[in-house]
Subunit: 261 residues, 2 copies
Amino acid sequence: MTRFALKLEYDGTGFAGWQHQKDLLSLQQLLEEAAGHLSDEPVRSITAGRTDAGVHASGQVAHIDLERKIAPHALLQALNFYLIPHAFVVRDVAIVDAQWNARFSARARHYRYDILNRAARPGLLQNRVWHLKPRLDIAAMREAARHLLGKHDFTSFRAASCQAHSPVRTLDRLEVLCDGEMIHIFAEARSFLHHQVRNMVGTLKMVGEGKLSAAAMPGILAACHRAAAGQTAPPDGLFLTQVVYEPDPFAGADKVGFAAS
Amino acid sequence: MTRFALKLEYDGTGFAGWQHQKDLLSLQQLLEEAAGHLSDEPVRSITAGRTDAGVHASGQVAHIDLERKIAPHALLQALNFYLIPHAFVVRDVAIVDAQWNARFSARARHYRYDILNRAARPGLLQNRVWHLKPRLDIAAMREAARHLLGKHDFTSFRAASCQAHSPVRTLDRLEVLCDGEMIHIFAEARSFLHHQVRNMVGTLKMVGEGKLSAAAMPGILAACHRAAAGQTAPPDGLFLTQVVYEPDPFAGADKVGFAAS
């Protein structure tokens, strides 16, 4: 058996999310069916982040095992052929050892959340942003974000459906950048609770609207109750941009991304 | 009559281009029909750049005349309501005087052309990039671009259908920026010939592939013949990002973009 790490990009619009769902189209199903064309056995995949329906990725990572040793550039071309016509592609492929695991070897997950803050609805970024008309108070959002940094019990930002054993997470980055009418919120941690990024963004948005104060953040964390925090931001604006491994299995794979011309 | 300047954003995919075309859906038709709901007379629009089918815009500018004086934020909301469900929105509105003209008052047009340079087809940017698999030689493309800067007879880069009186244009910027697997080409001039940006990009691409040398550019310009230059790049990667006016009619209109919350 050979284990392959796959770097994946997709537009989550119209998918039921990463994970298999009965009677709904999932990214996991598409990937495993594509890989199944290259194997006599059904192929199972493990992923770094089981993104929700409508959430996008430019740097999702998964691994699969195949009986045959296929050249990475050939696997990339074959999988992308079988993934047509979906908005889902394999960006890079690397051979990893049998102990390497896309989920458990991950050292950090990086997400970006995009808000379009203007009167006009999106003309170029439909389904890719959270469109908010009132001008948000960026300084207040930044102050609120600083309160959430570090190691906390994030129960107040955790979906009821979250299956993690512990609600404690260490948030390494929560940064609000403003680029004209676009607001980018960058969130980085070893791992996140279910809906944690969307619940933090929804709470920051209410701070930006003046409906919550930045100074309320410590109390919201201490409450350890989902109702204490703000709304859940829609999936549209969320992108899984990077999964960090040490060493990076794709570091030497740059040539793969270009080998198949 | 009141003249309104409109800043427009659209995804050109699926449109027949800016200009009216019999039996095909044009952006001009949609805008004029939307504005027609606010007028007893048919409304005609003048635009800064008549973009081709499939070309996008984040900063197109047009003007229309209406009998009634409508508040800019109310006009923005009304036009965007009538433009639903199209990927076409009015980003900003400003009242201008009767001599102001979206086309003839323009001091410069800024375009950006995006190339996705990697093995995998686009997963997030379908119809928004030119996907090229072989790694392009950016340094050679930059050298070629420098030869095209300044005032030249651009006949070799002009579509047969071009209706401009003179083939002489002054190219103020043609810059190739590389951001990972994305290549952005920025082109700025007072005005461009028909297909000039796409023909320059198609020629730079052939330089990047090693099929043409950067040193061939002066000869290509001197030939004054379309066949001397390279291919026409597809419309997908092209964005009209800005039209420059002095003074900028939208400079005081920032509040309009946010007034309608």
